[in-house]
Symmetry: C2
Subunit: 334 residues, 2 copies
Amino acid sequence: MNDTILLAHGSGGKLSHDLIEKRLLPSLTNPMLNKLDDSAIFQASGYLAFTTDSYIVSPIFFPGGDIGKLAVYGTVNDLSMNGAKPLYLSLSLIVEEGFPLSEFDHVVRSIKAAAEEAEVDIITGDTKVVNRGQVDKLFINTSGIGVIPFGIDISGANAKVGDKVILSGTIGDHGIAIMSQREGLKFSTPVESDCAPLNKLVAQMLESSSRIHCLRDPTRGGLATTLNEFARQSNMGIVIEEDKIPIKEGVKAACELLGFDPVYVANEGKLVAVVEPDDADKILAQMKQNNYGREAAIVGEVTNKHPGRVIMRTKLGHSRIVDMLSGELLPRIC
Amino acid sequence: MNDTILLAHGSGGKLSHDLIEKRLLPSLTNPMLNKLDDSAIFQASGYLAFTTDSYIVSPIFFPGGDIGKLAVYGTVNDLSMNGAKPLYLSLSLIVEEGFPLSEFDHVVRSIKAAAEEAEVDIITGDTKVVNRGQVDKLFINTSGIGVIPFGIDISGANAKVGDKVILSGTIGDHGIAIMSQREGLKFSTPVESDCAPLNKLVAQMLESSSRIHCLRDPTRGGLATTLNEFARQSNMGIVIEEDKIPIKEGVKAACELLGFDPVYVANEGKLVAVVEPDDADKILAQMKQNNYGREAAIVGEVTNKHPGRVIMRTKLGHSRIVDMLSGELLPRIC
């Protein structure tokens, strides 16, 4: 029984302190976290971004990542989508009694590696343990704080007529990776989750142009949902070209097999940018220099026709409305 | 089925937006939250405090409160314990498929009322839905940001020899309220949870003296665990007097019946302060003016004997070591 999480690890007492001091601090160490006060203290000034996300993905280990990596990158990306430079994360774990300590350690190592890649510090945290059967293995919440450089104003409400829509790479990788793992599907080319930190890509985009109007990572609900959010928030229409949207062969095949429309499938390492038309090529060229933007493409543009609606021009030359996802494609995707 | 949470409420798509726009925004409305971007943006400067906590309490409704109230006050209190003025919270909900919408609305109303009492805004959030049986009803994470007034330096590591230990009121109320509800125990005087926001109490204490060295709310693990944390972090000893510790008759009776030591039972509206001896009476008098400090008392002092250890002088005149809680008294208490 000593190699699993016990209820007493969540007691606030001796075993809680052991878990923190022996299994969390050694990996995540930094002066702010190490103080172990009720809050962490940091100095800041200017415009700050604040975000939160709970991660409930099942299975917790999947091709291309795990829940720990996802929890760090997901929150780093949410901050980045306001143009913020992510600085600090909180980490809150809800663990099922009986969860193997070896898997706990694996997730903590993943969190450490992900935080290092994204150059953020985890400065405050919390661990709760729930009785067996009352939570499925491990849920993670990360909240994050970032600083917004002077002059940046990015919002889903800022799309203007004529703006170009840039997508940073292939769609649907994360959703199909989770689905395949969950259902034991095998494809000739295995699909891996795209989960990745996008903060440096965003920083480079902002260096190349100050006229980036909207940014968002199309996670749950996929590309279609993000574009619909922009269309609604900005009260503009958006037209996208199906044949411009990058998609991996394996993802396309899986979607056909499973009856999914890839524009609704979740991504965890992609972004959609709505940018000033004159700067679009420059931004695109810059994105292609970054490992996470290599396959970026201009996929559409903003129009004042059909405000609030997204239209796709299909490969066959037809137009169809791409609505927000209704119903649930795949629960527990992130 | 329309009166319960569906998996599609967590899809990121249409029903997610409905849930947010119809059931969360109307209650929690403020300009930062209403923007619905991936992060909320606020302006700040100076020293900020950042904290996180996940709430998994069972049952979610209990005498004196519910999980929503607890989630707001708990995080407000964690910020306050660094001397910070709480400003902003994030709110992340993990809901079980099939959870009644009426109970969801009840919790949201509670969150709204609690945020109003504590004068904090919820500026960013996230909602996930998990399949039936994979989470127990509802878990909530709140993270919080506060600003630390100039010159404040409060930490569990700051206790000095001779400092007085002040407790803000009776101990064990929250733990016994949860336990009674869970086990269907009836006492002649029903015990209610003490869950309450302590930020105004702390602000008043700080107005009366700048020499408050440590502050912490004794939640999981109770008074004993908090005092042990101070003793360890400050490398000092602490001596407390059993007969000075305020405790309700009902809590005392329940603890005797259940075999609990009240110093280990959780509180959700109490604080422990370690203060400069010369200022102790002044601070105490100030605390008694506040509704949440009416029964405050000086319960002990800091010594350089037995560093890292807490000793209690019992009513019978003996001394005993009060160690950190080992094992688990009561799972899912907060």
